[in-house]
C-alpha cells in the first residue's frame, strides 16, 4: 500500500476540454494525447490496486499446481511440472469432497427454505393489511440490527435442546432463521412494487389466495427472488462462526464439517505436512472453495452488487 501514488495530483492539467454528450464515444480518440497525460497517474493507481487484488489469488492458483519446494523457492515461476494431481489428492485424502458436499447440502436447502419462507412472510406483509401487520414487520426488521455474536451462546443452548446441534439439519434451520430479516425486508419492498391489478384479476377469475401466490405472484417476483437467492447463497457459503460453534467436529474424519471449517481446521492444525505437495493441496482446497462464489458473482454481478448495497443502505 505504501507504493500507491495519490489519486489526483494537483499538478495535472486542469480542465479537460468539455465534450458534448454525443461526442463521448469519439472523445477518447480525439483528445487521446491529453488523456494519456491526465489519465496516466490515476491509471497507475487503478492498475496497482487491481494487481494487489489479483496477485494473491493468482499466486494461490499457480501454487496449487506446484510441489512444496517450488512453492517456497520460486513463488513467481510457472510450475516446472504441472501437478494436476494435487486437486485429486485434496479432494480425496484431505476430505475436501466431504466438506464440499456438506456445504452444498446446507447452502442449497438453506437458500431454498430462505426463499420460500421469506417470500411467504413478505407477500403477506406487503399485500394484506391486518391488525398488527406493522408490528410483525418491525419485529423481523429488528433482527438486522443485532450482531450475530450476541446470540451465539444462547443459540448453542437452543440447538442442543432441540437436537439440532452438531448436524447439518441444525445449520440449515439456523441459517434460514438468520437469513429471514434481510430477505423479508427486501422482498416486502419488492412485492409492494408489483402491480396490484394482476392479483385482483386473478381473484375475479376465481383463484384463491394460495393459487394467486404460487401461480401469479411468485413467477412475477422472480427477479427479486434471484437477487435475494444469490445474496443468501454468498452469505451462507461464506459463513464460519455458526458452523464452528454449532457444528463442531464429531469424528476423526470431520465428516460433518463444512468447507470453511474443514479448511480452517487444516490450516490451523497443519496436520498436513506429510506429502511433497501438501501445501499445494491446501491451496487447491482454497481454490475449490473460491470457484463457486466467483462463478456466481461473475454471472450475477449486477444482482450481487444490488443485494449487498441494499443491505448496507437499508
Amino acid at each position: 500500500m505504501t507504493t500507491m501514488p495519490t489519486a489526483a495530483p494537483p499538478t495535472e492539467p486542469s480542465g479537460e476540454p468539455p465534450s458534448e454528450p454525443g461526442l463521448e464515444a469519439v472523445g477518447t480518440r480525439r483528445f487521446g494525447g491529453a488523456r494519456i497525460l491526465s489519465d496516466g497517474v490515476p491509471q497507475i493507481f487503478l492498475v496497482a490496486w487491481a494487481l494487489l487484488v489479483l496477485l494473491p489469488m493468482l499466486w494461490v492458483l499457480l501454487s496449487s499446481f506446484k510441489n512444496n519446494t517450488e512453492i517456497f523457492s520460486s513463488p513467481f515461476a510457472l510450475p516446472a511440472k504441472w501437478q494436476f494431481g494435487t486437486y485429486a489428492r485434496a479432494w480425496e485424502t484431505a476430505n475436501i469432497d466431504q466438506f464440499f458436499l456438506n456445504t452444498v447440502i446446507v447452502v442449497v436447502f438453506g437458500v431454498l427454505f430462505t426463499l420460500l419462507f421469506s417470500s411467504m412472510a413478505a407477500y403477506v406483509l406487503a399485500r394484506y393489511e391486518f391488525p398488527g401487520s406493522r408490528i410483525v414487520y418491525y419485529v423481523f426488521l429488528a433482527g438486522m440490527t443485532f450482531p450475530l455474536f450476541l446470540a451465539i451462546v444462547p443459540l448453542f443452548k437452543v440447538t442442543q435442546s432441540l437436537g439440532l446441534f452438531q448436524n447439518l439439519q441444525g445449520l440449515i434451520v439456523v441459517y434460514v432463521a438468520f437469513s429471514l430479516p434481510f430477505s423479508v425486508f427486501f422482498l416486502t419492498a419488492f412485492f409492494q412494487s408489483l402491480p396490484k391489478e394482476l392479483a385482483e384479476s386473478a381473484f375475479i377469475d376465481g383463484a384463491g389466495h394460495f393459487r394467486t401466490f404460487f401461480q401469479i405472484m411468485l413467477p412475477l417476483a422472480k427477479p427479486g427472488l434471484i437477487s435475494i437467492g444469490v445474496f443468501n447463497f454468498l452469505g451462507q457459503w461464506n459463513q464460519y462462526l455458526l458452523p464452528v460453534v454449532l457444528n463442531p467436529q464429531k469424528d476423526d474424519q470431520g465428516s460433518n464439517l463444512l468447507l470453511t471449517q474443514g479448511l480452517a481446521d487444516l490450516a490451523l492444525k497443519m496436520r498436513y505436512e506429510s506429502s511433497p505437495t501438501s501445501v499445494a493441496e491446501m491451496f487447491a482446497g482454497l481454490i475449490i472453495a473460491m470457484i463457486p462464489v466467483l462463478a456466481v458473482y461473475i454471472v450475477f454481478q449486477r444482482r450481487v452488487e444490488e443485494g449487498l448495497t441494499a443491505g448496507a443502505l437499508k
Binding site: 479537460e16 490496486w49 489469488m57 411467504m120 419485529v139 444462547p154 490450516a267 491446501m282
Partner: protein
C-alpha cells in the same frame, strides 16, 4: 378478496415467524439473561449473580486489552478503507474524469475485479494471507527479497508472529477485502448525482480534485455516513479473519485479541464460562449501539437536495 383471508395469513406467517422467534429473537433476549448468571454450559443448573459478571469484566485487564485493540482497528480500518474506496469510486465514475466521461478506461473491468474479495469466504482470505505472510517462503517475504529487502530483519518472526505488527497485518487484510465493496456502494451513490452538475463543473474548469471535494463528496455524504456505521460494526466483529490468522480460537492472546475472539474463547474453549461470555456479548452490543449513535452525531451535515 376477503374470503379465506385469515387462514391464508396464518398459514403463511406462522412458519417463518416461529423460526425467527425461536432462533433469532429469543437467543438475543436469553443472551442478556444468561449474562446475569454463573452458568458454565456444562451444568443443567445455574445461579443468578446479578451484575457480578459485568463487575469482573470491568476489572479484567485482558478484556480491556481486547477493547483497546478494537478501538485501534475502529480508527484505522474505516479511515483507510473509505479513503481508498472513495478515490477508486471517483476514478471509475464521472467525478474522476473531469466530468467529461463516465469513468477512466477499463472502469467495468476494475469494478468487477475490485469486488472479488468481497464475495470470497472470509476464512479462505484469512488462510490465503496466512501463507502470504509466512516468515519463510511466503509471497510477501519473497517479494521483498526480490526487491532487496530482508523481511525478517525488519519484522522478526514475520507479520503474524510479531506481537507489535500482527494487528496491523490483519487490519491490512480487512482493508484489502473491504475496499471493493464500499467502492461499489459509493459508485451507486455517485450515479444518482445528475451528470449535468459534473458537466457544468467541467465547463467552469474545475480540476478533478476540486470536483471531488466540492461536488462529489458533499452530495455523497449520506452514503459515506451509512458506510462509516456499516464498516464500524463490521470492524467490531472480524471474527473469521482474527480467529484464523491470530489463531485466537486455539491459543490465548497473541497480540491481536478483540472482544469477539475473546468472547468465543471464553465460551467455547476451556472452561465454557457462558455467563461471563454473555456479559461480553452484551457489552459488544452496547458498543455497536454507541458506535452508531456517535457516528451519526459526528458526521451530521446539512442535507443537500438535488
Amino acid at each position: 378478496m376477503r374470503k379465506g383471508r385469515w387462514p391464508f395469513i396464518i398459514t403463511f406467517l406462522t412458519p417463518p415467524l416461529a423460526l425467527y422467534l425461536v432462533f433469532v429473537l429469543s437467543p438475543f433476549i436469553q443472551g442478556v439473561q444468561i449474562s446475569l448468571t454463573d452458568w458454565t454450559g456444562l451444568t443443567p443448573t445455574f445461579n443468578y449473580v446479578g451484575l457480578q459478571n459485568y463487575i469482573s469484566l470491568f476489572q479484567d485487564a485482558e478484556w480491556w486489552h481486547a477493547v483497546s485493540n478494537n478501538v485501534k482497528l475502529l480508527i484505522v480500518i474505516p479511515i483507510v478503507t473509505l479513503t481508498f474506496s472513495l478515490v477508486l469510486a471517483a476514478l471509475l465514475t464521472r467525478g474522476g474524469t473531469g466530468g467529461a466521461r463516465s469513468g477512466l478506461a477499463g472502469s467495468k473491468f476494475y469494478r468487477v475485479v475490485y469486488f472479488f474479495p468481497q464475495v470470497l469466504p472470509v476464512v479462505i482470505i484469512a488462510i490465503m494471507f496466512q501463507f502470504i505472510y509466512a516468515p519463510q517462503g511466503g509471497l510477501l517475504e519473497k517479494f521483498l527479497s526480490w526487491i532487496g529487502i530482508d523481511m525478517l530483519s525488519i519484522i522478526p518472526n514475520g507479520p503474524l508472529g510479531n506481537q507489535g505488527i500482527i494487528l496491523w497485518a490483519i487490519a491490512f487484510v480487512a482493508i484489502w477485502a473491504g475496499v471493493g465493496f464500499f467502492m461499489v456502494l459509493f459508485i451507486a451513490g455517485m450515479q444518482q448525482i445528475p451528470r449535468e452538475l459534473f458537466e457544468a463543473a467541467a465547463i467552469d474548469g474545475a480540476s478533478r480534485t476540486r470536483m471531488f471535494f466540492h461536488l462529489t463528496l458533499p452530495l455523497l455524504w449520506g452514503h459515506v455516513q451509512t458506510a462509516i456505521v456499516f464498516i464500524g460494526i463490521g470492524t467490531l466483529d472480524m471474527f473469521g479473519l482474527l480467529s484464523v490468522m491470530a489463531r485466537n480460537g486455539l491459543s490465548a492472546d497473541s497480540g491481536a485479541d478483540v472482544m469477539a475472539t475473546q468472547l468465543y474463547r471464553t465460551a467455547f474453549q476451556g472452561n465454557s464460562l457462558f455467563g461471563y461470555a454473555s456479559a461480553m456479548a452484551t457489552m459488544l452490543l452496547i458498543f455497536s449501539l454507541i458506535l452508531a449513535v456517535v457516528t451519526f452525531r459526528i458526521t451530521r451535515r446539512e442535507k443537500i437536495e438535488y
